[in-house]
Amino acid sequence: TSQHEWIAVHQDKTAFVGITKYATDALGDATYVELPEVGTEIAQGESLGSIESVKSASEIYQPADGTVEEINTNLEENPGVVNEDPMGDGWLVKMKLGEGVNVEQVEGLMSLEQYEKTLVHDD
Protein backbone atom coordinates (compact mmCIF):
# COMPACT_ATOMS: atom_id res chain seq x y z
CA THR A 1 0.00 0.00 0.00
CA SER A 2 1.02 3.63 -0.27
CA GLN A 3 1.38 3.58 3.53
CA HIS A 4 4.01 0.82 3.11
CA GLU A 5 2.17 -2.20 4.53
CA TRP A 6 2.50 -5.55 2.73
CA ILE A 7 0.12 -8.51 2.62
CA ALA A 8 0.82 -12.08 1.48
CA VAL A 9 -2.29 -14.17 0.88
CA HIS A 10 -2.55 -17.97 0.94
CA GLN A 11 -5.22 -20.08 -0.75
CA ASP A 12 -7.22 -20.63 2.43
CA LYS A 13 -7.68 -16.85 2.76
CA THR A 14 -5.21 -16.53 5.59
CA ALA A 15 -2.76 -13.71 5.12
CA PHE A 16 0.37 -12.36 6.73
CA VAL A 17 0.75 -8.60 7.14
CA GLY A 18 3.89 -6.54 7.69
CA ILE A 19 5.60 -3.33 6.69
CA THR A 20 8.03 -2.81 3.84
CA LYS A 21 11.76 -2.27 3.96
CA TYR A 22 11.23 1.33 2.88
CA ALA A 23 9.03 1.87 5.95
CA THR A 24 11.51 0.29 8.36
CA ASP A 25 14.36 2.37 6.93
CA ALA A 26 12.29 5.54 7.21
CA LEU A 27 11.29 4.79 10.80
CA GLY A 28 14.69 3.88 12.22
CA ASP A 29 15.53 0.99 14.57
CA ALA A 30 12.39 -0.49 16.13
CA THR A 31 12.36 -0.67 19.93
CA TYR A 32 8.76 -1.70 20.59
CA VAL A 33 5.93 -3.15 18.52
CA GLU A 34 2.33 -2.74 19.66
CA LEU A 35 -0.08 -5.23 18.09
CA PRO A 36 -3.80 -6.00 18.51
CA GLU A 37 -5.28 -8.91 20.48
CA VAL A 38 -5.93 -12.21 18.74
CA GLY A 39 -9.57 -12.30 17.61
CA THR A 40 -9.75 -8.58 16.88
CA GLU A 41 -11.68 -7.68 13.73
CA ILE A 42 -10.03 -4.87 11.79
CA ALA A 43 -11.39 -3.10 8.74
CA GLN A 44 -9.22 -1.88 5.91
CA GLY A 45 -7.58 1.43 6.76
CA GLU A 46 -7.99 1.05 10.52
CA SER A 47 -4.95 1.09 12.79
CA LEU A 48 -3.38 -2.33 13.16
CA GLY A 49 -0.91 -1.20 15.81
CA SER A 50 2.23 0.86 15.97
CA ILE A 51 5.98 0.57 15.80
CA GLU A 52 8.09 2.65 18.13
CA SER A 53 11.70 3.59 17.47
CA VAL A 54 13.90 5.37 19.99
CA LYS A 55 12.38 8.74 19.16
CA SER A 56 9.16 8.21 17.26
CA ALA A 57 6.05 6.08 17.05
CA SER A 58 4.28 5.34 13.77
CA GLU A 59 0.83 3.84 13.22
CA ILE A 60 0.48 0.75 11.04
CA TYR A 61 -2.72 0.37 9.00
CA GLN A 62 -4.69 -2.71 8.00
CA PRO A 63 -4.41 -3.41 4.23
CA ALA A 64 -7.69 -5.38 3.94
CA ASP A 65 -10.67 -6.44 6.12
CA GLY A 66 -9.96 -9.40 8.38
CA THR A 67 -9.69 -10.98 11.82
CA VAL A 68 -6.41 -11.39 13.72
CA GLU A 69 -5.56 -15.09 14.15
CA GLU A 70 -2.01 -14.82 15.37
CA ILE A 71 0.50 -12.12 16.28
CA ASN A 72 4.26 -12.35 15.98
CA THR A 73 5.13 -12.78 19.67
CA ASN A 74 8.83 -12.89 18.84
CA LEU A 75 8.64 -9.12 18.31
CA GLU A 76 7.99 -8.57 22.02
CA GLU A 77 11.53 -9.65 22.84
CA ASN A 78 13.13 -8.88 19.48
CA PRO A 79 11.54 -5.81 17.86
CA GLY A 80 14.68 -5.34 15.77
CA VAL A 81 13.61 -8.28 13.58
CA VAL A 82 11.24 -5.82 11.89
CA ASN A 83 14.28 -3.94 10.58
CA GLU A 84 16.37 -7.04 9.85
CA ASP A 85 13.78 -8.97 7.87
CA PRO A 86 10.64 -6.86 7.30
CA MET A 87 9.30 -9.06 4.48
CA GLY A 88 9.90 -12.38 6.31
CA ASP A 89 10.55 -13.06 10.00
CA GLY A 90 9.47 -9.51 10.79
CA TRP A 91 5.80 -10.18 9.93
CA LEU A 92 3.36 -8.51 12.30
CA VAL A 93 0.05 -10.41 12.26
CA LYS A 94 -1.59 -13.38 10.60
CA MET A 95 -5.14 -12.61 9.49
CA LYS A 96 -8.19 -14.45 8.32
CA LEU A 97 -9.48 -12.27 5.51
CA GLY A 98 -13.16 -11.35 5.36
CA GLU A 99 -15.43 -13.59 3.24
CA GLY A 100 -15.90 -11.13 0.43
CA VAL A 101 -12.30 -9.93 0.27
CA ASN A 102 -10.53 -10.41 -3.05
CA VAL A 103 -7.07 -8.86 -2.79
CA GLU A 104 -6.96 -8.37 -6.55
CA GLN A 105 -9.71 -5.81 -6.17
CA VAL A 106 -9.04 -4.23 -2.77
CA GLU A 107 -8.72 -0.48 -3.14
CA GLY A 108 -5.29 0.80 -2.23
CA LEU A 109 -3.44 -2.52 -2.60
CA MET A 110 -0.73 -2.66 -5.27
CA SER A 111 1.45 -5.30 -6.82
CA LEU A 112 5.14 -5.09 -5.96
CA GLU A 113 5.78 -3.41 -9.31
CA GLN A 114 3.11 -0.77 -8.75
CA TYR A 115 4.40 -0.14 -5.23
CA GLU A 116 7.97 0.45 -6.35
CA LYS A 117 6.72 3.06 -8.81
CA THR A 118 5.16 5.02 -5.95
CA LEU A 119 8.48 5.04 -4.10
CA VAL A 120 10.01 7.06 -6.94
CA HIS A 121 7.41 9.75 -6.30
CA ASP A 122 8.00 9.62 -2.55
CA ASP A 123 11.33 11.41 -3.07
Binding site: Q3, A26, S53, K55, S56, A57, S58, E59, Y61, D122
Partner: protein, 328 residues
Protein backbone atom coordinates in the same frame (compact mmCIF):
# COMPACT_ATOMS: atom_id res chain seq x y z
CA UNK B 1 -7.24 38.59 22.37
CA UNK B 2 -4.80 37.33 19.83
CA UNK B 3 -2.23 39.12 17.75
CA UNK B 4 -0.97 38.15 14.34
CA UNK B 5 2.65 38.85 13.60
CA UNK B 6 3.96 38.13 10.14
CA UNK B 7 7.66 37.53 9.99
CA UNK B 8 9.51 36.57 6.84
CA UNK B 9 12.61 34.48 7.32
CA UNK B 10 14.69 35.05 4.21
CA UNK B 11 17.31 32.50 3.38
CA UNK B 12 19.65 31.98 0.46
CA UNK B 13 21.03 28.78 1.90
CA UNK B 14 21.61 25.92 -0.45
CA UNK B 15 19.37 22.90 -0.42
CA UNK B 16 20.91 19.97 1.40
CA UNK B 17 20.77 16.83 -0.71
CA UNK B 18 21.43 14.46 2.14
CA UNK B 19 18.49 13.03 4.02
CA UNK B 20 20.11 13.50 7.41
CA UNK B 21 23.40 14.95 8.51
CA UNK B 22 25.55 14.55 11.58
CA UNK B 23 25.70 17.07 14.38
CA UNK B 24 29.14 18.11 13.15
CA UNK B 25 27.98 19.44 9.80
CA UNK B 26 26.89 22.68 11.41
CA UNK B 27 27.48 24.73 8.26
CA UNK B 28 24.50 23.11 6.57
CA UNK B 29 21.38 25.17 7.15
CA UNK B 30 18.61 23.17 5.49
CA UNK B 31 17.75 19.52 5.95
CA UNK B 32 14.87 19.55 3.44
CA UNK B 33 12.59 21.94 1.59
CA UNK B 34 8.90 22.13 0.66
CA UNK B 35 7.76 20.28 -2.45
CA UNK B 36 4.12 21.39 -2.14
CA UNK B 37 2.82 24.98 -2.07
CA UNK B 38 0.99 24.39 1.23
CA UNK B 39 4.31 23.71 2.96
CA UNK B 40 5.89 27.02 1.98
CA UNK B 41 4.41 28.87 4.96
CA UNK B 42 4.93 27.76 8.57
CA UNK B 43 2.38 28.87 11.14
CA UNK B 44 3.49 29.28 14.75
CA UNK B 45 0.66 29.23 17.31
CA UNK B 46 2.28 30.66 20.43
CA UNK B 47 0.25 30.01 23.59
CA UNK B 48 1.37 32.62 26.11
CA UNK B 49 -0.58 31.44 29.18
CA UNK B 50 0.15 28.31 31.18
CA UNK B 51 -2.55 25.73 30.47
CA UNK B 52 -3.42 22.15 31.46
CA UNK B 53 -1.51 19.55 29.46
CA UNK B 54 -4.75 17.83 28.44
CA UNK B 55 -5.93 21.05 26.81
CA UNK B 56 -2.75 21.23 24.75
CA UNK B 57 -3.24 17.62 23.67
CA UNK B 58 -6.80 18.39 22.56
CA UNK B 59 -5.65 21.33 20.48
CA UNK B 60 -2.94 19.24 18.86
CA UNK B 61 -5.34 16.35 18.19
CA UNK B 62 -7.90 18.67 16.60
CA UNK B 63 -5.30 19.96 14.16
CA UNK B 64 -3.93 16.49 13.40
CA UNK B 65 -7.46 15.21 12.80
CA UNK B 66 -8.11 18.07 10.37
CA UNK B 67 -4.96 17.15 8.45
CA UNK B 68 -5.94 13.47 8.30
CA UNK B 69 -9.52 14.19 7.22
CA UNK B 70 -8.44 16.46 4.39
CA UNK B 71 -5.82 13.95 3.30
CA UNK B 72 -8.46 11.21 3.22
CA UNK B 73 -10.85 13.30 1.12
CA UNK B 74 -8.11 14.23 -1.32
CA UNK B 75 -6.89 10.65 -1.77
CA UNK B 76 -10.47 9.48 -2.44
CA UNK B 77 -10.84 12.14 -5.12
CA UNK B 78 -7.55 11.13 -6.72
CA UNK B 79 -8.52 7.46 -6.80
CA UNK B 80 -11.94 8.27 -8.26
CA UNK B 81 -10.40 10.37 -11.03
CA UNK B 82 -7.93 7.60 -11.86
CA UNK B 83 -10.78 5.09 -11.90
CA UNK B 84 -12.83 7.28 -14.27
CA UNK B 85 -9.84 7.67 -16.55
CA UNK B 86 -9.41 3.89 -16.76
CA UNK B 87 -13.10 3.12 -17.28
CA UNK B 88 -13.52 5.61 -20.11
CA UNK B 89 -10.01 5.07 -21.50
CA UNK B 90 -9.03 8.70 -21.23
CA UNK B 91 -12.19 10.13 -22.75
CA UNK B 92 -13.90 11.03 -19.47
CA UNK B 93 -14.46 14.72 -18.89
CA UNK B 94 -15.84 16.70 -15.99
CA UNK B 95 -17.61 20.00 -16.49
CA UNK B 96 -16.03 23.32 -15.57
CA UNK B 97 -18.06 23.72 -12.39
CA UNK B 98 -17.10 20.29 -11.07
CA UNK B 99 -13.47 20.92 -11.93
CA UNK B 100 -13.51 24.22 -10.04
CA UNK B 101 -14.89 22.50 -6.95
CA UNK B 102 -12.32 19.69 -7.12
CA UNK B 103 -9.46 22.15 -7.57
CA UNK B 104 -10.58 24.02 -4.46
CA UNK B 105 -10.73 20.82 -2.41
CA UNK B 106 -7.29 19.74 -3.59
CA UNK B 107 -5.88 23.14 -2.63
CA UNK B 108 -7.17 22.85 0.95
CA UNK B 109 -4.07 21.22 2.40
CA UNK B 110 -3.14 22.86 5.74
CA UNK B 111 0.18 24.61 6.29
CA UNK B 112 2.75 23.08 8.64
CA UNK B 113 1.98 24.21 12.18
CA UNK B 114 4.12 24.52 15.28
CA UNK B 115 2.35 24.83 18.63
CA UNK B 116 4.30 26.11 21.63
CA UNK B 117 2.97 25.63 25.16
CA UNK B 118 3.86 25.96 28.80
CA UNK B 119 1.90 23.44 30.86
CA UNK B 120 0.77 22.89 34.42
CA UNK B 121 2.76 20.08 36.13
CA UNK B 122 2.18 16.78 34.31
CA UNK B 123 3.94 13.43 34.00
CA UNK B 124 3.32 11.68 30.69
CA UNK B 125 3.85 8.05 29.74
CA UNK B 126 4.71 6.84 26.24
CA UNK B 127 3.35 3.80 24.45
CA UNK B 128 5.95 1.39 25.76
CA UNK B 129 5.05 1.68 29.43
CA UNK B 130 1.30 1.81 28.88
CA UNK B 131 0.92 -1.85 29.83
CA UNK B 132 3.31 -1.88 32.78
CA UNK B 133 2.49 1.32 34.68
CA UNK B 134 0.89 0.53 38.06
CA UNK B 135 -1.57 2.61 40.10
CA UNK B 136 1.06 2.96 42.85
CA UNK B 137 3.56 4.40 40.40
CA UNK B 138 0.99 6.84 39.09
CA UNK B 139 0.12 7.86 42.66
CA UNK B 140 3.81 8.53 43.39
CA UNK B 141 4.03 10.90 40.44
CA UNK B 142 0.77 12.64 41.27
CA UNK B 143 1.66 13.24 44.91
CA UNK B 144 5.09 14.73 44.28
CA UNK B 145 5.11 18.42 45.20
CA UNK B 146 8.46 20.21 45.45
CA UNK B 147 8.76 22.69 48.31
CA UNK B 148 9.03 25.64 45.93
CA UNK B 149 6.06 24.53 43.81
CA UNK B 150 3.24 24.46 46.37
CA UNK B 151 1.43 27.26 44.58
CA UNK B 152 1.20 25.19 41.40
CA UNK B 153 -1.44 22.50 40.82
CA UNK B 154 -0.48 18.95 41.83
CA UNK B 155 1.04 16.92 38.99
CA UNK B 156 -1.22 14.77 36.87
CA UNK B 157 -0.21 11.55 35.11
CA UNK B 158 -1.38 11.27 31.49
CA UNK B 159 -0.86 8.51 28.92
CA UNK B 160 0.06 9.80 25.45
CA UNK B 161 0.51 8.37 21.95
CA UNK B 162 4.16 9.11 21.24
CA UNK B 163 7.54 7.45 21.27
CA UNK B 164 9.68 7.57 24.41
CA UNK B 165 8.94 6.75 28.04
CA UNK B 166 7.96 8.78 31.12
CA UNK B 167 8.63 12.48 30.83
CA UNK B 168 7.60 15.63 32.69
CA UNK B 169 5.97 18.79 31.38
CA UNK B 170 5.44 21.81 33.58
CA UNK B 171 6.22 25.38 34.54
CA UNK B 172 9.44 26.75 33.10
CA UNK B 173 9.50 24.23 30.26
CA UNK B 174 8.59 25.02 26.66
CA UNK B 175 6.73 22.21 24.89
CA UNK B 176 6.78 22.31 21.11
CA UNK B 177 4.44 20.26 18.92
CA UNK B 178 5.10 20.01 15.17
CA UNK B 179 2.21 19.11 12.87
CA UNK B 180 3.12 18.64 9.24
CA UNK B 181 2.77 16.22 6.35
CA UNK B 182 6.18 14.58 5.82
CA UNK B 183 5.31 14.02 2.17
CA UNK B 184 5.08 17.76 1.49
CA UNK B 185 8.86 17.96 2.07
CA UNK B 186 11.73 16.60 0.01
CA UNK B 187 13.17 13.24 1.18
CA UNK B 188 11.81 13.61 4.68
CA UNK B 189 10.95 10.40 6.58
CA UNK B 190 10.17 10.34 10.29
CA UNK B 191 13.74 9.89 11.50
CA UNK B 192 14.82 12.95 9.54
CA UNK B 193 12.18 15.04 11.28
CA UNK B 194 13.62 13.81 14.58
CA UNK B 195 17.10 14.89 13.46
CA UNK B 196 15.66 18.24 12.38
CA UNK B 197 14.10 18.78 15.82
CA UNK B 198 17.36 17.84 17.54
CA UNK B 199 19.33 20.27 15.39
CA UNK B 200 16.82 23.08 15.94
CA UNK B 201 17.11 22.49 19.69
CA UNK B 202 20.93 22.50 19.58
CA UNK B 203 20.91 25.78 17.64
CA UNK B 204 18.32 27.31 19.94
CA UNK B 205 20.54 26.59 22.94
CA UNK B 206 23.48 28.21 21.18
CA UNK B 207 21.76 31.22 19.59
CA UNK B 208 19.04 32.39 21.99
CA UNK B 209 20.02 35.69 23.61
CA UNK B 210 21.07 35.73 27.27
CA UNK B 211 18.49 38.42 27.92
CA UNK B 212 16.33 40.79 25.91
CA UNK B 213 18.62 43.82 26.04
CA UNK B 214 21.82 42.18 24.82
CA UNK B 215 23.04 40.46 21.69
CA UNK B 216 25.12 38.00 23.66
CA UNK B 217 23.94 34.42 22.94
CA UNK B 218 23.54 31.62 25.48
CA UNK B 219 26.25 29.75 23.57
CA UNK B 220 25.32 26.47 25.26
CA UNK B 221 27.08 23.48 23.68
CA UNK B 222 24.50 20.73 23.24
CA UNK B 223 24.59 17.41 21.46
CA UNK B 224 22.72 14.20 20.77
CA UNK B 225 23.87 10.85 22.16
CA UNK B 226 22.79 7.25 21.63
CA UNK B 227 20.08 8.00 24.18
CA UNK B 228 17.10 10.05 23.14
CA UNK B 229 16.96 13.79 23.71
CA UNK B 230 19.39 16.68 23.62
CA UNK B 231 22.28 16.75 26.11
CA UNK B 232 24.81 19.19 27.56
CA UNK B 233 28.00 18.83 29.64
CA UNK B 234 29.40 16.49 27.00
CA UNK B 235 26.40 14.18 27.17
CA UNK B 236 26.08 13.91 30.94
CA UNK B 237 22.93 15.99 31.51
CA UNK B 238 19.69 16.08 29.56
CA UNK B 239 18.18 19.46 28.72
CA UNK B 240 15.44 18.46 26.25
CA UNK B 241 13.36 15.38 25.51
CA UNK B 242 12.31 14.44 21.97
CA UNK B 243 9.54 12.14 20.74
CA UNK B 244 7.19 12.21 17.77
CA UNK B 245 4.12 10.35 16.55
CA UNK B 246 3.31 9.72 12.88
CA UNK B 247 -0.07 8.84 11.37
CA UNK B 248 -0.34 8.58 7.59
CA UNK B 249 2.73 10.82 7.34
CA UNK B 250 1.08 13.49 9.54
CA UNK B 251 3.32 14.24 12.52
CA UNK B 252 2.58 15.31 16.08
CA UNK B 253 4.41 15.84 19.41
CA UNK B 254 8.02 17.04 19.20
CA UNK B 255 10.31 18.42 21.90
CA UNK B 256 10.26 19.77 25.46
CA UNK B 257 13.10 22.13 26.44
CA UNK B 258 13.82 22.89 30.11
CA UNK B 259 14.23 26.65 30.40
CA UNK B 260 13.79 27.47 34.10
CA UNK B 261 12.05 24.28 35.20
CA UNK B 262 12.14 23.06 38.81
CA UNK B 263 14.42 20.11 38.14
CA UNK B 264 13.34 18.11 41.19
CA UNK B 265 10.17 17.19 39.28
CA UNK B 266 12.42 15.13 36.99
CA UNK B 267 15.48 14.18 39.02
CA UNK B 268 13.41 12.56 41.78
CA UNK B 269 12.30 9.74 39.46
CA UNK B 270 13.86 7.49 36.84
CA UNK B 271 12.95 9.51 33.77
CA UNK B 272 12.89 8.47 30.13
CA UNK B 273 13.83 4.91 31.00
CA UNK B 274 17.39 5.89 31.93
CA UNK B 275 18.69 5.15 35.43
CA UNK B 276 20.64 7.86 37.20
CA UNK B 277 19.90 10.31 34.42
CA UNK B 278 20.27 13.88 35.54
CA UNK B 279 18.11 16.48 33.92
CA UNK B 280 19.22 20.08 33.65
CA UNK B 281 17.85 23.37 32.35
CA UNK B 282 19.05 26.46 30.55
CA UNK B 283 18.99 28.46 33.78
CA UNK B 284 21.00 25.84 35.67
CA UNK B 285 23.62 25.99 32.94
CA UNK B 286 23.52 29.78 32.60
CA UNK B 287 22.54 31.20 36.03
CA UNK B 288 23.15 34.77 34.91
CA UNK B 289 20.80 34.50 31.93
CA UNK B 290 17.32 35.99 31.99
CA UNK B 291 15.51 33.66 29.60
CA UNK B 292 11.82 32.81 29.60
CA UNK B 293 9.92 30.04 27.86
CA UNK B 294 8.44 32.40 25.27
CA UNK B 295 11.78 33.70 24.00
CA UNK B 296 12.99 30.10 23.65
CA UNK B 297 9.79 29.22 21.76
CA UNK B 298 10.38 32.02 19.25
CA UNK B 299 14.04 31.10 18.88
CA UNK B 300 13.26 27.42 18.25
CA UNK B 301 10.62 28.12 15.63
CA UNK B 302 13.04 30.37 13.73
CA UNK B 303 15.66 27.62 13.69
CA UNK B 304 13.10 25.01 12.64
CA UNK B 305 11.87 27.25 9.81
CA UNK B 306 15.39 27.45 8.41
CA UNK B 307 16.05 23.72 8.72
CA UNK B 308 12.78 22.90 6.94
CA UNK B 309 13.75 25.26 4.12
CA UNK B 310 10.60 27.34 4.66
CA UNK B 311 10.76 31.00 3.66
CA UNK B 312 7.64 32.40 5.33
CA UNK B 313 6.84 32.20 9.04
CA UNK B 314 3.57 33.53 10.45
CA UNK B 315 3.16 33.80 14.20
CA UNK B 316 -0.10 34.12 16.12
CA UNK B 317 0.13 34.76 19.85
CA UNK B 318 -2.79 33.27 21.76
CA UNK B 319 -3.40 34.39 25.33
CA UNK B 320 -6.94 33.02 25.65
CA UNK B 321 -7.04 29.32 24.85
CA UNK B 322 -10.83 29.43 24.53
CA UNK B 323 -10.57 31.65 21.47
CA UNK B 324 -10.00 28.52 19.40
CA UNK B 325 -13.54 27.36 20.15
CA UNK B 326 -15.03 30.58 18.81
CA UNK B 327 -13.05 30.43 15.57
CA UNK B 328 -12.85 26.76 14.52
Amino acid sequence: MSRCIRQSVCTNFNVCRRQCFSTYASALKEMTHPIKPSAQTLRHLQFTQRIPFQKGLEIQETLVRANLDIKDIQSKIERKLIQLDEEYKGTATINDNEKRILDKVMAMKPNPIILTFEFEPTYTGGKRIKKTMTPDQIAAYESFIPETQKDNPRPKFVQVERGGQVTFHGPGQIVIYIILDLKTFQSFPAKCLVSCIEQATIRTLKNTKMCDDTDKPLNLDAMTTKDTGVWVENGKKKVASVGIHVRRSITSHGVAINVNTDLSYMNSFEMCGLKNTLTTSIMEQRPDAVVNVQSVAISFVKEMTKLLGIKTLERMQIDDVNILKKNP
